[in-house]
């Protein structure tokens, strides 16, 4: 088949990702088999299989409505909070069933943190925002140290260290999002999920967040949802492309996983034509 037409600019940008073999040599953090999610009977996502590995950045891309956000919420059981939501299939976290009946979902969320699309700092001080998690979970040790450590990791410390008592809502959008990241880091998670973390931010803030992801992946495992392909190409080691399948009989649209591979491959030589169409901008 002829090489797909992708401009070389993009190829240059994807050079930061790891090789697939390198990724797969790392431990599996999440192992998803035949996952489906339905809201009050209506199927939103179907038949997803993939593995997320330790200390990598995995990106979910795809057109809107394909279930990427629904999928990422399965990893920290946030879908439990939606009445009528049903998850079928298996999600293994470090080899154990995340959805087993006797698993404590509340504690899970400490280990698997989440950052949302629109920064949602609490209407409290910067300090109290970061300290909320440790306080509520009764973590021992110096609160001040935890707050500082989290803010440093989120590359926000220098900017706010003199005004920790100020209200968080007074920060700029980019700062607020880094604050939300710090907040998630303060409870010492294992994984950080990010649902379109930079889509509400300006380009400069976006770049800072992307750089942050590179730093953070040394210690954490990161999964992001993004609708910005260049972003996925820039930060992710592995990329999963989701799309929408429309039933022929008109019974609705379901999200499906089309292709999952090393980022470089997805953007240069994708195996599936749908993927190729999407990344070359022919649709979506």
């Amino acid at each position: 088949m002829e090489a797909p037409r992708i401009d070389s600019g993009r190829i240059a940008e994807v050079s930061r990702g790891l090789e697939r073999s390198e990724v797969e040599s790392r431990k599996s953090v999440f192992s998803v088999r035949d996952l489906s999610v339905a809201y009050r009977g209506k199927v939103a996502l179907e038949g997803v299989d993939l593995d997320v590995h330790q200390n990598t950045v995995t990106a979910f891309i795809g057109p809107s409505g394909c279930g990427k956000s629904t999928f990422i919420r399965c990893f920290n059981r946030m879908n439990d909070l939606i009445p009528g939501a049903k998850v079928d299939g298996t999600v293994l976290y470090h080899g154990e069933d995340l959805y087993a009946r006797d698993v404590d979902a509340v504690e899970i969320r400490r280990r698997i943190g989440m950052v949302f699309q629109k920064p949602n700092p609490f209407p409290k001080s910067i300090y109290d925002n970061v300290a909320f998690g440790p306080r509520v979970l009764g973590m021992k040790g110096s609160l001040d140290e935890r707050v500082e450590s989290a803010l440093r990791q989120a590359a926000l410390w220098e900017e706010v260290k003199d005004r920790l008592k100020d209200g968080a809502l007074g920060l700029s959008g980019g700062q607020q999002q880094r604050l939300c990241i710090a907040r998630a880091l303060a409870v010492e998670p294992d994984v950080i999920l990010m649902d379109e973390p930079a889509s509400a931010l300006d380009p400069i803030s976006t770049t800072r967040i992307e750089d942050l992801m590179h730093d953070l992946k040394r210690e954490y495992t990161i999964v992001i949802v993004t609708h910005n392909m260049q972003q996925a190409a820039r930060v992710a080691d592995m990329t999963a492309f989701f799309s929408v399948a429309v039933e022929d009989d008109g019974s609705g649209r379901r999200g499906i996983l089309v292709e999952y591979d090393a980022t470089t491959k997805i953007f240069t030589t994708p195996s599936d034509k749908r993927t190729e169409d999407y990344v070359t901008g022919r649709f979506g």
Binding site: N76, M78, L81, P83, V106, E107, I108, R109, R110, R111, G113, M114, F116, K118, N120, P121, F122, P123, F132, G133, V136, L137, L169, C180, R183, A184, V187
Partner: protein, 262 residues
């Protein structure tokens, strides 16, 4: 429609007229006891304040907890939760005097609490409880869901999310609603008449003692034929209006000041 201004005019007229016998004002604030010309309303004013305290003490916690339950915990599909919701809506429309009957039967005679301040306070609490619940619910609903999501995502339990994020954010709305409810409770007369706010109380009231409240006092004075008592009634009305309108003003001020900047 200039008809709207008609209401304004009437209100002003009202104020002017009640203001005229305001000669009586001096008689109110100080003098304690009753006897024709020398009557004062201090016991009544004190009792009204006590009643207000009782109402505040009971209606706010119960009302807020009920609102939290309905907004954060109750599964709408369950029938008992729908019963509770419908109930509150209906209770809001029950005439105050029916609460008075309830009080007469259950609290005064039923548990034998008698015609005391506490009984009156409890009945007034029930009268304004639906108002507090509605106001609290709206305040809670106004807290953006993103805050809750953020807190849950950190591993907080439901109550932690409610107690540490939702309620603190809802406090201005709850405060406004509570003060408005309180101002209504303070102005209520009918239930208190039923529950036995006695006519002649020449001594300062205590929580478990007999009493008469300001609105009742005004009512009693209005019934008496003497012109001096008309003046007294008017003066009492002014004091009551001041109390009520001040509370409303505070509530409205709070509401405007804290119009949230989500």
């Amino acid at each position: 429609m200039l008809v709207a201004f008609g209401t304004l005019v009437v209100l002003l007229v009202d104020t002017i007229v009640t203001g005229w016998p305001g000669l009586g004002t001096q008689l109110i604030t100080g003098l304690p006891s009753t006897v024709a010309d020398e009557a004062g309303a201090r016991p009544a004013i004190l009792a009204t304040l006590y009643l207000g305290a009782v109402v505040l003490l009971f209606s706010v916690p119960i009302g807020v907890l009920t609102a939290v339950y309905l907004e954060e915990y109750a599964d709408r599909e369950r029938w008992w939760n729908r019963v509770i919701e419908v109930n509150i809506q209906n209770l809001a429309a029950v005439p105050a005097i029916v609460y008075g009957i309830l009080g007469l039967a259950f609290i005064v005679h039923g548990i034998g609490l008698g015609r005391v301040v506490l009984a009156g306070g409890l009945i007034l609490t029930l009268v304004v409880l639906p108002t507090v619940v509605v106001a609290a619910r709206e305040a809670i609903r106004a807290v953006p869901d993103s805050i809750r999501q953020g807190a849950f995502a950190l591993g907080a339990t439901k109550w932690q999310v409610v107690w540490r994020q939702v309620l603190p954010a809802a406090i201005p709305g709850i405060a406004t609603g509570s003060i408005l409810a309180l101002s209504r409770a303070v102005g209520e007369t009918a239930p208190l008449i039923m529950v036995g706010a006695v006519v002649y109380v020449p001594f300062n009231p205590t929580i478990l003692g007999q009493y008469t409240a300001l609105p009742v006092q005004i009512f009693n004075w209005t019934k008496l034929p003497d012109a001096e008592f008309r003046t007294l009634a008017a003066a009492g009305a002014i004091v009551l209006l001041v109390i009520v309108l001040t509370m409303n003003a505070v509530a409205i001020f709070l509401r405007n000041r804290y119009r949230k900047q989500w």
